[in-house]
């Protein structure tokens, strides 16, 4: 894992060290810190709550199994997201084989839920090379360098995919925006 000590918080480093030294209860601390973020990422990738919960649990189990490899060197976040990403890619392959429908609805504010479902459906319809940068950079607010590192591409390639992904998403949301702006979007 590359060295960037500025990323980890003090609490995170303490839990990483404890887990690496064989204290399995430290996983609880890491789950508190990262559980929601990993779930959100998996949910956006998979569009399915049950699979996202499963992928999140499996991500933390893999962290536990590979705890001897852990180093508090600042790269934990990229590492755990990479584990989650690999699991999501496996699940997406299974979906493709089994043609499972996405489940984009979840409880929440009713006014926002329609837009959320629309956004999730539009994300689901994007090719993965565009969807991933959008999820990481715009939804998870990850920096371009870290997202590029996670996806194993250069920063310019990441930005190019991000910008194209935003345009593709805008086009998927076209009906919504054309209603708002009262004219066709530029092609």
């Amino acid at each position: 894992m590359p060295n960037d000590a500025s990323r980890d918080t003090l609490a995170e480093r303490r839990w990483i060290v404890a887990l690496a030294e064989g204290d399995p209860s430290a996983l609880g601390g890491l789950y508190e810190l990262y559980g929601e973020r990993i779930f959100r990422y998996a949910y956006r990738m998979l569009g399915n709550r049950a699979d996202a919960e499963d992928a999140t649990a499996e991500t933390f189990l893999r962290v536990l199994r590979r705890s001897a490899e852990l180093r508090a060197d600042g790269a934990f976040r990229t590492w755990i997201f990479r584990i989650a990403r690999n699991l999501c890619i496996d699940k997406l392959r299974q979906h493709k084989l089994m043609e499972l429908p996405p489940d984009a609805q979840y409880p929440g504010n009713e006014d926002r839920s329609t837009l959320r479902v629309t956004v999730q459906q539009a994300l689901d319809a994007l090719p993965p090379e565009y969807r991933e940068p959008l999820i990481l950079c715009d939804l998870e607010e990850m920096g371009a360098r870290e997202a590029a590192e996670l996806l194993k591409i250069s920063v310019p390639a990441l930005k190019s995919r991000l910008y194209r992904g935003r345009r593709a998403l805008r086009d998927k949301l076209g009906t919504h925006f054309e209603r708002t702006y009262g004219q066709r979007l530029p092609s």
Partner: protein
């Protein structure tokens, strides 16, 4: 300045990556170019929509994931997060 230059900056404008003076210049240019204006506004709204998305994470999901972890062999109790002042390195004083 012609609008080809401004069209090349629309992606940066949408992501709020431009300095404020160039952003203001873009907005002035958009007044005379409806297509540029729609491109700027719709793309920025796309980004803003994504960034303002609420979290789909619920207490039920939190508990179900926790249960899966415990069933599959993880041995821990859920903890409350450390207080914020312990999560950041503070400068040494004195």
């Amino acid at each position: 300045m012609d609008n080809d230059y401004h069209r090349k900056l629309v992606d940066l404008y949408a992501g709020r990556e431009l300095p404020s003076e160039i952003e203001a210049e873009m907005e002035i240019a958009a007044h005379g170019d409806a297509e540029l204006a729609v491109d700027m506004a719709s793309l920025r709204q796309t980004v803003d929509t994504l960034r303002s998305e609420g979290s789909p994470f619920t207490e039920e999901s939190y508990q179900r994931i926790l249960t899966k972890l415990l069933i599959r062999g993880a041995a821990f109790e859920a903890r409350t997060p450390d207080p914020a002042h312990l999560q950041y390195q503070l400068p040494i004083q004195g």
